[in-house]
């Protein structure tokens, strides 16, 4: 059931990073209790890190054998990586999520979620502002009521406007 897929831009570098990470984790696992005994706190993590390293090496070998995905004519490897793995929309959306998380604590659930919904809907290509504003407001109202009443969840109230909007 193996699929014959092409090697994506950056995949080889990622394989190398995983091997480096495995080595780092193996070192960290060794540092827990060295070779104290076969039942020490570090013994199983060392085994897991060894497995990680070995499987990482095999996976890297498989990646080397894959045929690279052809890029557009005259396109550099970096450009191809950016186009296929980190397109602008994805980067902007991740930044919007990070900003949402930052604001969640400060502005509280309602304000930050509303801002996040309206802005990210636009970012993802929904061009009708009125639709975005209404869909965000309606869905947020439903979510808020369901969480508060059925799930009794404590939602972040925000440090900046605490007491004003919960």
């Amino acid at each position: 059931m193996h699929t014959s897929r092409r090697r994506l831009p950056g995949e080889l570098v990622f394989s190398m990073l995983l091997i480096a990470f495995s080595l780092f984790m193996l070192w960290q696992a060794y540092s827990i209790s060295k070779f104290e005994s076969f039942t020490s706190a570090g013994s199983f993590p060392m085994f897991a890190a060894m497995v990680m390293l070995l499987s990482g090496l095999i996976a890297a070998g498989e990646t080397v054998k894959l045929t690279p995905l052809p890029g557009a004519e005259g396109e550099s490897a970096w450009r191809q990586f950016v186009r296929q793995m980190t397109p602008g929309m994805l980067v902007q959306f991740v930044l919007a999520i990070a900003a949402y998380m930052f604001l969640l604590e400060r502005l509280g659930f309602v304000m930050s979620s509303y801002l996040f919904l309206v802005i990210s809907m636009r970012l993802l290509g929904s061009r009708k502002w009125v639709l975005n504003i209404w869909v965000s407001a309606l869905s947020l109202a439903v979510v808020y009521l369901v969480f508060k009443t059925i799930f009794s969840v404590v939602l972040p109230s925000g440090t900046l406007l605490q007491g004003l909007i919960k």
Binding site: L8, F44, F47, M52, L90, I97, L104, L117, V143, V154
Partner: protein, 499 residues
């Protein structure tokens, strides 16, 4: 026996539980059907909201969502040719051609009836097999648990078509994430890097929501251009002669579903693909050629994937080992409620087992009702544009990660795991084994150390016990076969034998 029946019908007579199962099944159908929303994602988010509830209510709603979600995936497969869930990939192969012929209604109707049939077979198997497996499980030594856990991770990493090495790597990453914090036996810090916060470990709910929710949303950004093709839905309830005709096939594929579901780590998606393959090989005169709208191509995967749901409960309830990613999440939910799934749970709290069997049966009945109604509204809802849907999923994920401990740090962990999960997914690594590794890591660690202690730290004796005990030898053989069957050498050997 009377006691068991009482617990079985508990959810049937309690209006609150009845309502929760109905709501769960209804929501599950829609969650499963909307491309971009997965059952694992929904259950992961849900457990962070239901941890304050009593365990019965939480398990009732989860059972409904799980069963409804596995079925719901078939609807968007048939109507839009976009599988709402991995378990519905095989369904679309014949379901969509049927819809193109204007037979979407008949296809959905038959799918519903066969899913419910498969569900009942699975529940029956769960009720009969689980108590027996639990009794057998009492004989399991720690080394057996160690091997079963490893087997589970290997199966989930290999059977769904990816690279075995990548599956093992992901599983090992999960084990290491699961061991962050203080060692439960010696209280030595492991991978804490001097941080006080890390001594408590990493919240696996935040990790689950990150890997299954955020990562999936980010991957979906690459598929924003996919447009749904609108379909007409007409008569839904299938004629009896059609149902009767396909019952023998459904019985066989439900059997496949139960067995595959019960294998640690393998779930409805693999069950559905294997059942489809079985139908293709055994049905001589299908209603249309396979891939061009054969009813057999709908019946087989749909009965199998719903039978796999109760099947996956078998190792979860009896061994504490998840049958698939969703049951891994359910185990997480049970831990949160202070329960430890395994043979002792079956013996000490049998009511919980019979309650779950009753809840699944009820959810299956609701599935029949909701499955055969409301298709027209449904067809509209599954077409919700992704630019509106994805931010909503993200908001739910963030609140879910926050709600579990009211800790903002968990939300950042979620985003971190989401981004890592996205890169993993893009480069062909599955995230399922990571979660399995996280859940099973502590069990594997303690099982390994107990086995080593009982062998008095003697490596020779430790290794010898894997082959001298008959039970361990059988599990070791299954484990070895799983690894060997994935090697190029084995594939060549099979090719030569079948040639």
């Amino acid at each position: 026996m009377n006691e068991a029946l009482g617990y079985f019908f508990m959810s049937w007579v309690d209006p609150r539980l009845l309502g929760l199962i109905a709501a769960g099944t209804f929501a599950g159908i829609y969650i499963g059907a909307i491309p971009g929303l997965s059952v694992t994602m929904a259950v992961s988010i849900l457990i962070s909201f239901t941890f304050k509830w009593d365990i019965n209510s939480a398990l009732a709603v989860i059972a409904g969502i799980y069963l409804g979600g596995v079925y719901g995936g078939s609807r968007s497969s048939i109507l839009l040719n976009i599988p709402g869930a991995p378990s519905a990939i095989a369904t679309g192969l014949d379901g969509y051609p049927l819809a193109k012929r204007g037979e979407a209604g008949a296809a959905i109707g038959l799918t519903t009836v066969m899913s419910v049939f498969g569900g009942f077979i699975g529940i029956l198997a769960l009720a009969i097999a689980a108590p027996a497996v639990a009794t057998l499980a009492l004989k399991f030594a720690p080394r057996d648990y160690l091997m079963l856990a490893i087997w589970g991770i290997l199966l989930v990493g290999s059977l769904s078509g990816g690279s075995l090495a990548k599956g093992i790597f992901a599983g090992a990453v999960g084990v290491l994430i699961g061991s962050v914090g203080l060692d439960p036996m010696t209280a030595e810090p492991r991978f804490t890097f001097g941080s006080l916060q890390l001594t408590a470990g990493i919240s696996y709910v935040a990790a689950m929501i990150g890997f299954f929710g955020v990562a999936e949303v980010l991957v979906q950004l690459h598929e924003m251009h996919l447009k749904a093709v609108k379909q007409n839905v007409d008569k839904i309830i299938p004629p009896w002669h059609l149902v009767k005709k396909y019952l023998p096939l459904a019985a066989r594929t439900s059997g496949i579903g139960v067995v595959v579901g019960a294998l640690p780590g393998a779930g409805g998606d693999i069950a559905a693909l294997m059942a489809y393959d079985h139908a293709k090989r055994t049905v001589k005169n299908p209603s249309s050629p396979f891939g061009e709208g054969a009813y057999e191509g709908l019946v087989a995967p749909e009965s199998a994937n719903n039978a796999a749901v109760p099947g996956a409960y078998i190792p979860m309830m009896t061994l504490g080992i998840p049958g698939d990613a969703v049951t891994a999440v359910i185990i997480g939910a049970m831990y949160i409620h202070g329960l430890k799934p395994g043979p002792m749970l079956m013996i000490e709290t049998p009511h919980l087992f019979w309650f779950q069997v009753g809840a699944l049966t009820l959810a299956n009945c609701f599935l029949l009702v909701f499955g055969l109604t409301g298709i027209k509204i449904f067809a509209k809802i599954v077409e919700t544009p992704k630019p509106l849907l994805l931010p909503l999923i993200l908001m739910l994920s963030a609140v879910g990660a926050y709600a579990i401990n009211n800790n903002p740090a968990d939300v950042y962990w979620m985003l971190g795991f989401g981004v890592v999960g996205y890169v993993f997914k893009m480069y062909g690594f599955q995230v399922g084994p990571i979660i399995l590794g996280m859940i099973l890591g502590p069990l594997m660690d303690s099982s390994y150390r107990q086995a080593m202690i009982s062998a008095e730290g003697n490596v020779g004796q430790f290794a010898g016990e894997f082959v001298t005990s008959p039970l361990s030898a059988i599990i070791l053989a299954a484990l070895t076969f799983t690894i060997v069957s994935q090697t190029a050498w084995w594939q060549r050997l099979r090719g030569r034998t079948s040639a």
